[in-house]
Symmetry: C2
Subunit: 211 residues, 2 copies
DNA sequence: CCTCGCTCGTGAAACCTTTCACAAATGCTC
DNA sequence: GAGCATTTGTGAAAGGTTTCACGAGCGAGG
């Protein structure tokens, strides 16, 4: 059903296409051409068609793609058919911003637990969830049948926490800590590193200035 | 001085190497081999050497790289020699998390202004900065000699704000809004899209389950 | 001061991703 | 129902990035 190996860049674009398909759907458009999708997504029509072709062929020649069925299929491909249960590790300001972000639940990601190490935070309520003790991490993850962990801790404890998460069976981690996590085969980590993003912008500024 | 075109992936790795070099420096290590750096950064020694080779050759054969000079050179390459002034557009929770993040100032990024549209927020103080009216965006950017804008608004107003930022000369934007921004040649945008990250993790979960 | 072991620097090869270009297929119009 | 305009699906080509492999150069140690 799913082909062997799909490039990460392709998967990211599929997620972006899905967003625009949903927009087209809201606007009542029934079909959309690869070119229209490409323009919105900042890519080319050939890229769109190639990306989709990895999973079959859903277009109609001369017309384009039917918006609703394509969106459904993309959701299926991306595994958004069921809700994913997410735990947030660390209850600082970034965690507060994340639980607040309505986009999560709108797209099927449900935050079921927040843990922290700081006794001053444990017991407090964040967006309806009581912050729990990170000491109970394993219990919290099992109880919530958590699939995805979002790590928003300082760099120091990050690796140890990941080791514990992996040990209880977590295989998908979104990491905001500025460290390169070591994980075994079969565990996926996506890093979001604000410092790296800013530094690439800084590089771009310098590179332009040097020209 | 700077070579033609450096891949984005290379620049990102340089930023990561820099982080580890600083760690080695704190630990008092004088030299480091490409292999040690590679292991920490999750890549290969050949990759490290290739990345560095684009900018010259700073290693000593048989020995490795001198930690301090290499770190200095990387900072220079990345344009971290002087502080960058940053404005934050949008004063929601994510903005609060960002101004709070000490990593910014530690790495030479200084937040000089925060603006928002909401009258209820304007005038409030966030980490020592008074939130200003987004209507005065152009004035704020000029006054602060802002180089980098961080966009943390909802998707709706994002493009219009970017147009205004570009018009006042901003050429580097870090975008957290879940839209694909259209900018003219010569303006750099880095996107951080939490929904896309989560959806790629969701895909990875499905793809593994299907195997 | 010669040899040895180590690690860099780098062209070449392998691999992967994107772009191109065009045949094939569809809907629409007349 | 034939012809036309349109847009998909996809091999092939181009372009880009990573890995390989090895010569070159350096320091250490005798």
């Amino acid at each position: 059903m799913l082909p062997r190996k799909i490039a990460d860049s392709t998967v990211r674009r599929l997620a972006i296409y899905l967003r625009f398909l949903e927009e087209f759907q809201r606007q009542g458009q029934a079909t959309v051409a690869s070119d229209a999708l490409a323009q919105r997504a900042g890519t080319t029509s050939a890229q769109v068609r190639k990306d989709l072709s990895f999973f079959g062929s859903f277009g109609t020649r001369g017309l384009g793609y039917d918006v609703v069925p394509l969106a459904d299929r993309l959701r299926e491909i991306l595994g958004l058919g069921h809700r994913h249960r997410v735990a947030i590790i660390g209850a600082g300001r970034l965690a507060a911003a994340l639980v607040d972000y309505t986009g999560f639940s709108a797209r099927g990601f449900e935050i079921v637990a927040v843990v922290d190490r700081d006794p001053a935070r444990i017991g407090a309520v964040l967006a309806g969830l009581t912050i729990e003790d990170v000491a109970d991490l394993e219990h919290v993850v099992r109880r919530g049948e958590v699939e995805i962990a979002i790590l928003v801790t300082p760099a120091g404890p990050a690796q140890a926490l990941v080791d514990r998460l992996v040990a209880v069976g977590i295989t998908a981690i979104l990491n905001f800590a500025p460290v390169q996590l070591q994980v075994p085969e079969g565990v996926d980590v996506k890093n979001v590193n604000l410092a790296v993003e800013l530094e690439t912008l800084s590089y771009a500024l310098s590179a332009r200035a040097a020209t």
